[in-house]
């Protein structure tokens, strides 16, 4: 054995000894930061193995430096592999520990409660949407109205028997002033719109209206939605088509309708509109009183007298109007039998329709 052999042997022994302590330290490290500390202690710039290598290189005579360097690199490579292996092992342990978690997933969740729109708001928005598809713009107006807009301009002069059809709330108005009423229908919006613009007019006006009535099927306040379409060449066939479109979109494609002639002061010809009973499909039940039909709205061709009041030429223009109750639509759709539920503010009612 020559001297260089003994040098090499000594170095190998030193490296082995470091590596085995390094390996033990790695095994001791329980998490990544600790592992990195061990790594730095042995393999880092100032680490033991590097130091021993540097010392060996310094001590080695010129011709042997190369061999020492190679042996050192092998050791360092081995050290890095051990580190990487232990790191993987630690990651896996951590992952396993995390996966060991086991919850009772059947426990109730932490609530993030939904708020909700009133059923009548939902129905109104749906109706507005359906009529928007047909090009009807929403229009609104005041709920406290003048007698002129609510009655006179709609061909219901004072002391006209048709005023008996709507029990009216009056407000105190100054003497000599046009009496003020809580509007009994949304039709004054038609008047305001036509007074403000020329045809074509195509509006839908939803809103609260008031009648002096209070029982399970009549509320002193309820909501109507009314449509008005005025242009050259508008016919009752257009009215029928518009209503049929609405009925099929709202109540279902298989629901048909029929018109029954009726009377409203502001339309002529006038009609009530029935849909085939959605509960018994027309065979007769309690809701439709055996008739197979349910009344849903009133409609007609705008009366020339109304056009006269708003300055439209009734020879040139014709139009149709229709109106229904939003509550009525909701009651039919959802099987609600007491109108007063809508305005009772009971969260247990409102919550059902979130």
């Amino acid at each position: 054995m020559n001297q260089s052999d003994s040098h090499a042997g000594e170095l190998a022994r030193l490296f082995d000894e470091s590596l085995s302590r390094y390996q033990a330290a790695l095994a001791e490290a329980k998490d990544e930061p600790a592992l990195r500390v061990v790594h730095a202690r042995f393999v880092g710039k100032e680490g033991e193995i590097r130091k021993r290598l540097a010392d060996a290189l310094k001590a080695a005579p010129g011709p042997e430096k190369r061999a020492v360097g190679q042996a050192g690199n092998t050791v360092l490579q081995k050290a890095e592999e051990l580190f990487a292996e232990r790191l993987r092992e630690l990651h896996e342990l951590k992952r396993q520990a995390e996966l060991a978690k086991k919850l009772d997933v059947t426990m109730p969740g932490r609530p993030h409660k939904l708020g909700g729109l009133h059923l009548l708001t939902q129905v109104r928005l749906e109706l507005e949407g359906i009529f928007a598809e047909l090009g009807f713009q929403v229009a609104t107006g005041p709920q406290v109205e003048t007698d002129f807009h609510n009655f006179e301009a709609l061909a219901m002069p004072k002391d006209h028997p048709a005023r008996d059809m709507q029990d009216t709330f009056y407000l105190r108005s100054a003497p000599g002033q046009d009496p003020l009423v809580l509007r009994t229908h949304t039709s004054p919006v038609q008047i305001r719109t036509m007074l403000a613009q020329k045809p074509p007019v195509r509006i839908i006006s939803p809103g609260k209206v008031y009648r002096k009535d209070d029982d399970p099927t009549h509320s002193p306040m309820f909501q109507q939605i009314e449509g008005l379409c005025v242009d050259e060449g508008i016919t009752m066939a257009d009215l029928k088509g518009t209503l049929l479109y609405f009925v099929k979109r709202f109540f279902g494609a298989d629901v048909g309708l029929r018109l029954r002639p009726s009377f409203f002061p502001f339309t002529e010809p006038s009609a009530e509109v029935d849909i085939e009973c959605i509960f018994c499909k027309g065979s007769g039940c309690r809701t439709c009183k055996g008739s197979g039909y349910i009344e849903i709205l009133g409609c007609g061709m705008v009366d020339p007298e109304v056009f006269r009041h708003v300055g439209y030429d009734s020879e040139r223009y014709s139009g149709f109007a229709f109106g229904t109750g939003i509550e009525r639509m909701a009651m039919l759709r959802y099987g609600i039998n007491d109108l007063r539920l809508f305005f009772a503010g009971d969260a247990r009612f409102t919550e059902q329709f979130r």
């Binding site: 939904l114 407000l171 613009q197 016919t235 066939a237 503010g345 009971d346």
Partner: protein, 831 residues
């Protein structure tokens, strides 16, 4: 309006295949809605009229009577439980009853058989009205008199005109001609013209009513107000004997909803139900001066009407008077002084035409809605009076005897003519969207009894005076549509001819913002409710505060006190709903409403604003059992308001902007005047950044209000105006590519110093690199923080859009902010 099917069959020949149900269904789809069809006496067979020959108590039951009845052949004993069994008089004049013998069937379906009643065999029963299917009346058995003209042993159903059907018609206000059987028959004849329905002829021969007695003078009529009463027609009848009408007529009236009174009055009512034209019978002897004066009432003139009420009249009321006093409110109700009674022998029969406008105001003012006023105010036929009066006179003579003792008086100074309307067939096409041939249109109108002739392509239609609703071409188009059948109209969609410049309608911004507010509140976990716009004055006071000058708008004719004014705020109602929901057992309640409030404006129409308001009670969303830290507090409601406000496009500033800024708002402490419902120490006001006006308040509910509502825990609320202006739409700002740097700032400051002032001062420091300030801590623990001070910790964010900031730049900027803040507030920086 009730209509008897049998009566219609007296007027029309109706083929047997057409049932009341078929006819009702067709009427309903042709403009005459039939609300109900009631069978009368249906299924009644074999009940006969029998005379009471004797009665005695049942030996074993106090409430039962043994009645001997005579059926024309023999006397039979029947057991009867009714309390009103009549006592017999002499045979032939004794009261009569309806006896359902064994084998007879009743409308209920019961077939009678001999039955033992408390030990005594009863062959059938004596019937009450309900058992006969006549009415709901079960107070006693039906009693007939010999004067009813029904022979002993006769089949009762046949004699009483049974079975019958009563059709309940919903007559629209434009069709007064349908308020009588003849009018309804006219409509049926038109609708079923192709199915063999034809008119029966029946004319009254007045001559036969005159009798042979000496002629007297015609009734003297002084018509002083021909505009209110264009025509007055009167018959004079003498020698009448007033008494009850025969059963047949009494039952007919009863099933049509009219009370039978006496033969003369019943005759006027029957004529009314037949022709739809009201008549009135006066006791001629009681008319002072034997004359009628038609005039306006004197101011304060009084009249006792038939219902026993004293009516005070005014000069706008049309009055029927005699030489000295009023005897009837014209067209509304007769007076008591000249009422027909059992002593009356001479009758003045009024059949007048009153102008609608002269009747309705009086009827409304007196709140007297009668069969007469209902018809006159809708319009009767001025040219049909003689026919109606003759028919009524004939009926009086038939039921009460007597004769026409003079020529009638007919005062009709200006005859109301029929008029002619032109119908352009192509106009019908344009309105209906259906090309009904001109000939078919003509045929529809003729079916209604309107004479039509052609002139060129047009139709000239003569309008009889019984159709006051037909005044314009469009009215004829409606008639054509009805009779031709509107089910024949096709379905099309209107062609879309909207111009691109169609404006957004007035008020729509507020409307859209209101819906936006609804969506936001729902997203924030609140449930929407809807309340009446009407409320009580007391609730308005709760919402406005005792010292507020705001007066709600009163309703003149409210349903009740609780709904007598229009609301000025939503919150007073919402807190009541909160109370109710808690009473239902709910623990956590969060309700909101978006709705209109009404305020006096000084203009013609009041101001209507849309408010959004909410009440909150209980806990935040919590997991399993709520803990004390889950309880809602002031900062929950504030947080909701902040989210809502920013969702509505308003930017929330920490303090009043130096320059008015639209679409911005800021918060300050609310005064108790501004927020009377809120706790004075936890009430905030939201102010407009442009006008500085309070647009809302929020905070904790006032403890006093809470106590009055019986709420145990704290409740929170807000109410804001929904903005009227379009929502601010900010332009897009790209996110910075350069990193932001945060620096903490911690200091002691006077505990009364408002956080918003500090935040606002920092934000408005003018430091261009400062991009955000967040409050992280408010710390006041005794021992750590000097009394009267608080320690605040803020995090300030710095960033440039042009480069990555150096530590030095950030430090300098931070120092500039600290210096700026330090100049405004005495700070004691913490290390």
């Amino acid at each position: 309006m009730k209509v008897s099917w049998n009566w219609l069959c007296e007027l029309l020949d109706i083929p047997s295949g057409l049932t009341p149900q078929t006819v009702a269904a067709r009427l309903s789809v042709s403009g005459v809605a039939v609300d109900a069809i009631h069978p009368i006496g249906k299924g009644l067979h074999g009940a006969i009229v029998a005379e009471v020959r004797g009665k005695r108590p049942h030996p074993k039951a106090d409430k039962l009577t043994l009645v001997d009845v005579f059926d024309g052949h023999e006397v039979t004993q029947v057991v009867c439980g009714a309390p009103n069994v009549p006592s017999p008089t002499e045979p032939g004049k004794s009261p009569r009853v309806v006896w359902a013998r064994p084998g007879a069937t009743l409308p209920s379906g019961l077939t009678l058989s001999p039955k033992e009643v408390r030990g005594i065999l009863s062959p059938g029963m004596l019937c009450a009205e309900d058992e006969l299917g006549l009415s709901e009346d079960h107070a006693g058995i039906l009693i007939l008199q010999p004067s009813d003209g029904i022979a002993v042993g006769d089949d009762f159903a046949q004699a009483a005109g049974l079975p019958d059907w009563v059709l309940e018609l919903d007559i629209t206000p434009n069709r007064p001609d349908l308020l009588g059987h003849i009018g309804v028959a006219r409509e049926i004849a038109a609708l079923f013209r192709h199915e063999g329905v034809t008119w029966k002829t029946s004319a009254v021969d007045v001559a036969t009513l005159r009798g042979s007695q000496a002629r007297t003078e015609k009734p003297v009529i002084s018509l002083e107000d021909p505009s209110g009463c264009p025509r007055y027609f009167a018959h004079r009848l003498s020698g009448v004997t007033v008494g009850p009408s025969p059963l047949f007529y009494r039952l007919r009236l009863q099933r049509l909803g009219v009370r039978a009174l006496s033969n003369v009055v019943d005759a006027t009512n029957l004529a009314l139900l037949l022709y739809g034209h009201p008549l009135h019978a006066f006791d001629f002897a009681k008319l002072d001066g034997h004359k009628i004066v038609v005039r306006r009432a004197h101011a304060g003139e009084k009249l006792q009407t038939l219902d026993g009420q004293e009516r005070e009249l005014q000069p706008s009321d049309l009055l029927i008077a005699d030489a000295s006093k009023g005897v009837a409110v014209a067209g509304v109700m007769g007076g008591q002084t000249s009422e027909v009674s059992y002593t009356t022998t001479e009758v003045l029969l009024e059949c007048a035409y009153f102008a609608p406008a002269s009747i309705r105001p009086t009827a409304r003012r007196l709140k007297l809605h009668t069969e007469a006023s209902h018809r006159f105010e809708r319009g009767t036929d001025p040219n049909g009076l003689a026919v109606v009066a003759d028919a009524c006179a004939a009926l009086i003579v038939k039921l009460a005897g007597g004769y026409l003792s003079s020529e009638p008086t007919d005062v009709y100074p200006h005859k109301i003519p029929t008029h002619t309307l032109t119908l352009r067939p192509e106009r019908t096409w344009a309105i209906l969207g259906l090309q009904i041939p001109a000939q078919a249109q003509k045929e529809c109108l003729e079916a209604l009894g309107l004479p039509v002739r052609s002139e060129g392509t047009n139709l000239l239609v003569e309008i009889p005076t019984h159709r006051p609703d037909l005044t314009r071409e469009i009215d004829l188009i409606e008639e054509v549509a009805r009779i031709y059948g509107i089910h024949n109209i096709p379905t099309t969609l209107p062609k879309l001819a909207m111009t691109a410049s169609q404006p957004l309608h007035q008020g729509m911004t507020r409307y859209r913002n209101a819906d936006r507010a609804r969506q936001l509140c729902a997203s924030l976990g609140l449930l929407e409710v809807m309340q009446f716009s009407m409320t009580s004055p007391e609730r308005v006071r709760t919402g406005e505060g005792k010292s507020s000058p705001t007066q709600p708008l009163p309703i003149d004719n409210p349903l009740r006190e609780e709904l007598s004014v229009l609301r000025t705020k939503l919150l007073p109602g919402l807190v009541e709903l909160l109370r109710q929901n808690l009473a239902h057992g709910l623990a956590d309640v969060r309700l909101f409403e978006v709705g209109e409030v009404f305020l006096p404006s000084g203009q013609q129409l009041p101001t209507e604003k849309t408010h959004v308001a909410a009440v909150l009670y209980g806990h935040r969303d919590h997991f399993l059992k709520p803990t004390s830290s889950d309880a809602l507090d002031f900062y929950d409601v504030k947080g909701l308001v902040e989210q809502l406000v920013s969702g509505l496009g308003l930017s929330l500033l920490w303090q009043k902007p130096e320059q008015p800024s639209a679409s911005s708002v800021y918060v300050r402490v609310a005064t108790s005047t501004e927020a009377p419902m809120l706790h004075p120490g936890a009430a905030a006001a939201l102010l407009s950044g442009s006008s500085g006006e309070v647009i809302g308040t929020f905070g904790e509910l006032h403890p006093d209000l809470r106590a009055s509502l019986d709420l145990h825990g704290a409740a929170f609320a807000f109410e804001l105006e929904v903005p009227e202006q379009p929502r601010h739409k900010p332009g897009y700002v790209p996110a910075s590519r350069f990193p932001a740097v945060s620096r903490d700032l911690s200091f002691f400051v006077h505990s009364e110093t408002e956080a918003a002032k500090l935040l606002g001062t920092m934000q408005q420091s003018g430091e261009p690199l400062l991009r955000g300030v967040t409050l992280l801590e408010d710390y006041r623990q005794a021992g750590h923080v000097e009394a009267g001070k608080k320690a605040l910790l803020f995090s300030l964010t710095y960033r440039s859009d042009e480069r990555t900031l150096t530590d030095d730049e950030v430090q300098k900027a931070h120092q500039r902010v600290i210096d700026h803040l330090g100049r405004a507030f005495p700070l004691q920086l913490r290390q």
